[in-house]
């Protein structure tokens, strides 16, 4: 039937277009190792214990330089922390508020509704403290890098000695997966036991990197679980509706064909 021939052409065309797109994404450099994460796939979900540990890694290791200004402490409730725990975490930072009735800015303990406190007041201060390099905000970092969580995981694991003959500039560090292989950030997670996990999990480098990647992915796409769950339902619904629509169409057209 002509209809089917046309549909085949259509699918082919779509395939060609789709094929073209990842090609734009792939930059030069090393291909990333494919890491398995709990949030991959059709029924992906966050491993909350891992993400909570990842938050601990962020707090104790990353947050010295990297802000996450799009997140609020209240968001941590989503990772399974209680209201009291979140209030406790928020209260450990001092937040600038005001002006008060005297017109002064005042510091007060953070509340759950406050944004994550940034380590530096502005980009210039961040650069000044980091040898001119700007530690990027990590709120959407897995969405903002080609390769997403795989890339973040690979980057954090990708430190090592440069290959023979490669000159590393002063203050730079070799990283297998960073574009150009020279990165200003020294290996942030470098030794087992760097973080002492509250839940007793053994803090190997790989464990910490996996956990912080889990946390950063949640931070970038907090809607992921809801989105995928809704997607599965909607596609099942549409498949049934499609069957019905096709049956109606067949019936309607029976006397013409």
């Amino acid at each position: 039937m002509p209809a089917f021939r046309s549909l085949r052409a259509l699918v082919l065309g779509l395939g060609l277009m789709a094929g073209a797109t990842p090609a734009l994404a792939a930059g030069e450099g090393v291909s990333l190792p494919d890491t398995r994460f709990s949030f991959d796939g059709l029924f992906g979900h966050f491993d909350r214990a891992s993400a909570q540990r990842g938050f601990q890694v962020y707090k104790e290791v990353c947050s010295g330089c990297h802000s996450m200004h799009l997140l609020s402490y209240r968001n941590l409730r989503q990772l399974g922390l209680s209201e009291a725990e979140v209030a406790g975490i928020a209260a450990t930072v001092q937040v600038m508020d005001g002006p008060n009735d005297e017109g002064q800015m005042v510091e007060r303990p953070g509340r759950a509704s406050d944004r994550f406190k940034s380590p530096f007041p502005n980009e210039q201060a961040a650069r000044a403290a980091n040898n001119g390099a700007y530690p990027p905000d990590l709120s959407v970092i897995t969405k903002a890098r080609e390769g997403g969580a795989d890339y973040i995981h690979a980057l954090l694991m990708g430190y090592g000695d440069p290959p023979a003959g490669m000159q590393i500039a002063d203050g730079m560090h070799y990283n297998k997966y960073f574009a150009g292989h020279q990165i200003a950030m020294p290996a942030p997670i470098s030794s087992d036991g760097q973080v002492e996990y509250h839940d007793g999990t053994r803090a190997t480098v790989d464990q910490m990197v996996t956990d912080v990647t889990q946390f950063l992915t949640w931070a970038a796409e907090p809607e992921l679980e809801e989105r995928k769950a809704m997607g599965v339902k909607i596609i099942i619904f549409l498949t049934i509706l499609g069957g019905l629509a096709y049956a109606v169409k067949r019936k309607v057209w029976r006397d013409v064909h």
Partner: protein
């Protein structure tokens, strides 16, 4: 056959097609209805709006007989440090005289402190009575200049078109001199 094309389908297929169409149509209607919800829901307060819904107020600077206005959820909240006479005036009124009967005791947590949302229950204007120079109306509380509603020292409607008393927000004393609204 050519003739039948332009006409409705032959009789024998009719009921089956009708039923199918009904099922498919209802399915599609359910789908359209379901997809309308995210649109409607997106206009409700967002999560950050809901999160920032508590306000802490320090009561120390408020002298007896005076009041302050603080903003909670974008609305003015009146916090008045009532004098003993004002409390007495609010409590001596028999409930039968009130348009919206409610004892003063049910509207405060500590006798001297009255906390009400400063929005006239008629049509949403802000009543006068916060500043010492303001007109407070015939009952010593607040007076709404828009349509002449007068409230007493318990924030209850006593005269004018407003149907109910000034609303009391949910709040709690976090210490002797501090309250948290929301």
């Amino acid at each position: 056959m050519a003739d039948s094309m332009a006409q409705p389908a032959p009789q024998d297929g009719e009921t089956r097609r009708d039923f199918l169409q009904l099922v498919a149509g209802s399915f599609a209607a359910v789908g359209v209805g379901a997809i309308a919800w995210p649109f409607i829901s997106s206009m409700n307060p967002a999560r950050d709006t809901l999160a920032v819904s508590t306000t802490d107020i320090d009561l120390k600077p408020i002298a007896a007989g005076s009041a302050i206005t603080v903003v909670w959820r974008g609305k003015p909240v009146f916090v008045r440090n009532r004098t003993e006479e004002e409390v007495k005036a609010a409590r001596s009124v028999p409930l039968s005289e009130l348009q919206d009967p409610q004892p003063d005791q049910a509207r405060v947590k500590k006798d001297q402190w009255l906390v009400v949302i400063g929005i006239c229950t008629h049509l949403g204007c802000i009543p006068l009575g916060q500043k010492p120079t303001d007109q407070r109306g015939p009952f010593g509380g607040w007076f709404c200049p828009c349509h002449g509603s007068a409230y007493d020292t318990s924030g209850r409607i006593r005269q004018g078109p407003a149907p109910t008393n000034l609303a009391v927000p949910s709040y709690a004393f976090t210490s002797d001199t501090q309250i948290r609204i929301g």
